[in-house]
Symmetry: C5
Subunit: 101 residues, 5 copies
Amino acid sequence: MQLARVVGTVWATRKTETLDGLRLQVLRQVGTDLKDGSGTVIAADAVGAGVGDLVLYATGSSARQTTVTENRPVDAVIMAVVDAFDLDGKVIFQKGGKGDR
Amino acid sequence: MQLARVVGTVWATRKTETLDGLRLQVLRQVGTDLKDGSGTVIAADAVGAGVGDLVLYATGSSARQTTVTENRPVDAVIMAVVDAFDLDGKVIFQKGGKGDR
Amino acid sequence: MQLARVVGTVWATRKTETLDGLRLQVLRQVGTDLKDGSGTVIAADAVGAGVGDLVLYATGSSARQTTVTENRPVDAVIMAVVDAFDLDGKVIFQKGGKGDR
Amino acid sequence: MQLARVVGTVWATRKTETLDGLRLQVLRQVGTDLKDGSGTVIAADAVGAGVGDLVLYATGSSARQTTVTENRPVDAVIMAVVDAFDLDGKVIFQKGGKGDR
Amino acid sequence: MQLARVVGTVWATRKTETLDGLRLQVLRQVGTDLKDGSGTVIAADAVGAGVGDLVLYATGSSARQTTVTENRPVDAVIMAVVDAFDLDGKVIFQKGGKGDR
């Protein structure tokens, strides 16, 4: 999995029928220093994440292992909103607190 | 998934029998700034996209989760034509309008 | 899928039994400008491609979706020999003609 | 698989139900020279690794081939804590000894 | 698949039970010029390769398509020891002969 920040949303009406009802979010990868990386991924949202949230996303066939993405042609899924993470024993990020924007 | 623009088409007569009837499009990856990236992907088309369309494509085993690509040896599929997307609360692209070429 | 040119062949006698009878080709990735890229891939050949042919190959689990690669430990397969492709409305490559070597 | 060092932990309460009880570790990739690489991965922990441990992780659908990750939306798993490895006939790393920090 | 040279071995006692009995080799990727690349991969060995051997390895779910790796959390497998390969009609490598070290 990778850390990313939700930065936007994609809308599409012409799509495969199996995509109906899925929310597609634009993610910007962030490093463990919480700085924006250059990578961007469009991911299905399985947890109701909002713009600005720090999230974890999974890719590949693992992205289909949620009830909302099962059997759908999606290769990336937001499977968790990050509450906190630490690095070398120090808290780097706490939702609504340290490191949050 | 990634954003891309349809830029061409590939034709092949000598191919595995399971590819019959599939339309193979040439995609150029685009960033969220809508600028062309350097990456190119050949993808099966599950939505009838045309040259110039901004699309989403999925890769890996997820590319086979559509009725037209099921059980076929394709690792990339166009699964949606993008109508619009926003970034940090601003509309970046609207089909036939802002950001469209 | 990606475009590539067949540039060689690999032989191996000590291999997993499931590889028996598979032809393994050396592919050099080519861009849509038909210039050689730096990437090299060894792929199972499902279509009888020859050295010099411009081909499409698929990777990952999709590489096992052909009768010759089913259930085999191969992660790349040549699934089509390219006849032609166009880009932005112009023919870039035609087998035995424009762009072919 | 790749070598990595466990450098932290991620906490999330809003997540897909299938993630309950999984420990998510922050990994920093290391080369065979044991120097830190720039890559970071968040992986499910199937072996009870601790911060500082040199581990092996697997990615993709293979990350779901453990009893703790089966059918879960995770694309990386720690499947072994490294005891030792050698390179060109020389021991490079021994847990609690040479090369360990 | 990719070409690589076996350069070492990894030992681990604390690992998922499904890894028991698997030999894990350290591979260094090599190009078709037989020069060492910078990439390193840890792969399960399905063919009994030794240090110094030029091998082919497969990644992803395809790495589990051998009797020794089936249902195991491994994402890379050595599935062949290379006897020879040619490039543009010239023999580049022959085991025990040209290009072998």
